[in-house]
Amino acid sequence: MIEVTVNGQTQQIEGPMSVAALLEIVEIPGPYLAVELNEDVVPREQHAEQQVAEGDSIEVVTLVGGG
């Protein structure tokens, strides 16, 4: 197991895995979101190859109502 931070919360995951695989674990609907790995946006086309490793910080964001 490795430890990563997802949206500010510490999470245990099985091991290094792709961003795409991580998103499956947290069950987020795909098209409405954007992902940042260690403060850099990971474009959707790179979700499959971009790896998440021990200590990484991931932000998963969507759009909400705002002015």
Binding site: R44, T62, V64, G67
Partner: protein
């Protein structure tokens, strides 16, 4: 009921152009603080807006209620304008802008190339931090964003933001959500004069502080190219009706500006003929 208000004549009033975007409506409305999503969707419709703002927030990973705002806003109909609301420094605002761009790019929405930049100074006034705002604006312009930049009504700051390449400067009428209307119309006049001096088409959009329809009309009468508002509709007793009022006010205010108001005079000037009066006392 929402279609009775005529739009301004496009032959004599070209549409609002901001960056690469041409907007049919000069009213930009926010999507926050509604009681529920269907009410928001109906209000957007009634406002006549074709550009709506949205915020970038962490996805609620483990307590989702299954609803997403994008299920209630047709991305083919509305250009989404992502904001950086809630950011208190340039670094966070730039991150939010990039994330908003990524979501809109995934959705295929035209709004992927622009951002409503908002870098706040404190949570009590929600006034912008001018130093961080300028820094973020400069960086986002370098990264290719069309930056619609929220700022105070300070003319010097407005000029600096235009100088670093903001696609539109958006001075506040009064603090966000305060509903106080245009507190300093003179500053807005100066901003309009400065920013349009050699560039009459440069878009200046009044953003924040609107309380009711007359505030919108006033902004347009001053010469603003657009008005951006949210809470005045979302927290009205009847948001859909207020949306209609805002739409009518935008149209009326813009027409009044284009028509040109008469100068204010201290004394009266008769509108009926002064000759041929059946009176023992002449006008003069």
């Amino acid at each position: 009921m929402s279609t009775a208000i005529p739009s301004n004549d496009s032959a004599t009033d070209p549409p609002l152009v901001v960056g690469k975007h041409t907007l049919a409506s000069r009213l930009i409305v926010g999507t926050g603080r509604y009681d529920n999503m269907p009410q928001m969707a109906e209000s957007l419709e009634a406002s006549g807006a074709d550009c709506v703002t949205v915020a970038v927030r962490r996805e609620r990973l483990y307590d989702r209620n299954g609803q997403n705002i994008l299920d209630f806003i047709d991305p083919d109909r509305y250009t989404l304008l992502p904001n950086t609301a809630g950011c208190y420094n340039a670094t966070d605002a730039i991150r939010a802008a990039r994330l908003g761009r990524e979501i809109l790019r995934n959705l295929g929405n035209a709004g992927a190339d622009w951002v409503k930049l908002e870098v706040l100074g404190d949570s009590k006034t929600l006034l912008p931090d001018p130093v961080e705002t300028l820094k973020a604006c400069e960086e986002l312009v370098k990264e290719g964003f069309s930056v619609l930049c929220y700022t105070s009504d300070d003319p010097i700051m407005a000029r600096r933001l235009k100088q670093v390449g903001a696609a539109s400067v958006m001075p506040a009428g009064s603090p966000i959500g305060s509903g106080q209307g245009l507190l300093n119309p003179n500053n807005l006049r100066i901003i309009l004069e400065y920013l349009k001096l050699d560039d009459p088409d440069y878009p200046v959009i009044v953003d924040a502080g609107v309380g009711t329809a007359s505030d919108v009309a006033e902004a347009f009468e001053l010469g603003a190219d657009g008005v951006l508002l949210n809470t005045a509709i979302a927290h009205a007793r009847d948001p859909i009706r207020m949306s209609r009022a805002m739409r009518a006010a935008a149209s009326a205010g813009r027409d009044a500006f284009l028509a040109g108001r008469i100068p204010k005079r201290l004394y009266a000037q008769a509108s009926s003929p002064t000759e041929g009066v059946i009176s023992s006392r002449p006008y003069q």
